[in-house]
Symmetry: C2
């Protein structure tokens, strides 16, 4: 059936236990699954965007949550690089989801605001993210999902001071 003996062994069909026993390794692998599902869900919504990507949704959520802000504040809050933010806002502005105008009080800054069209887009995307979340954690019970979420949040809060450790 095969020229090499090791091909027939079941052992080579699963990951080495050395890697599987590390949570950080599992985490990296699961995040690629999560990203793929998220992008697929966002693309299924078919908005007026050239690319359906996570930073676009994050920026819309940020603006819908706390109102207009300058680019640097959005970038710092979402851990998106300021350089990359430019292209994301170009996309969102071109789609009519945000407006970018010079701040008259400090002309170095752009005041970025979400439009009503942008709010509608965000709500539709939000629903898609929920569906991706459900699909990803399908094997867990509701209780287990909540537990997992709290642990995740505590760990992330430890490494990122802008993540509040507890739910409000």
């Amino acid at each position: 059936m095969s020229a090499t003996a090791q091909r027939s062994a079941d052992a080579v069909r699963v990951w080495p236990e050395d890697l599987l026993k590390r949570s950080n390794f599992l985490l990296c692998k699961l995040s690629t699954v999560a990203k793929r599902e998220l992008v697929e869900q966002l693309a299924a919504q078919d908005l007026e965007l050239p690319h359906h990507r996570l930073p676009h949704l994050a920026v819309l959520s940020c603006l819908a949550d706390s109102g207009p802000a300058c680019q640097k504040d959005i970038a710092e809050r979402l851990r998106i690089d300021g350089s990359d933010m430019v292209a994301v806002l170009d996309d969102l502005e071109h789609a009519g989801y945000v407006t970018r105008v010079r701040d008259p009080r400090d002309r170095r800054r752009h005041a970025v605001s979400i439009t009503s069209t942008g709010r509608r887009a965000r709500r539709r995307l939000d629903h898609r993210v929920d569906r991706a979340d459900d699909a990803l954690f399908a094997p867990l019970t509701t209780t287990e999902r909540e537990l997992f979420h709290r642990l995740l949040r505590r760990v992330l809060a430890h490494h990122d001071p802008r993540v509040p450790p507890e739910l409000p």
Copy 2:
């Protein structure tokens, strides 16, 4: 203190709750933290490699775990693209950590084996991954870490048939 009113609000210093409440989003963010710590730890070991990256360690673990294999089998097992595998093996071979010889029974294949130098390198890297794991999950107790690990593994097993759901 600032030209824009929203800069002074605490609200903009934390992520939008819309994003924080999704485990898939938290997962993606935490994985970037995990990757950064892993790469820093691997680089700190300072082996004979041009780059200190995760796939290099994964390949060494795979070969140490189950013996020689052809490139395609390693790639499928580790979910590394066959195209990228070429460069990884070039690095490992040049460093003297693996050998690549034509399989005489099927000259299309390369039989890849780990060397004794490669085994030593893997053990040192393994220790570094452990340290990165400890640092990442520092805020959790031992019990919580084990719980988190089991949940992670169950979720990943649901999406990847080559992850055994239970520990042996």
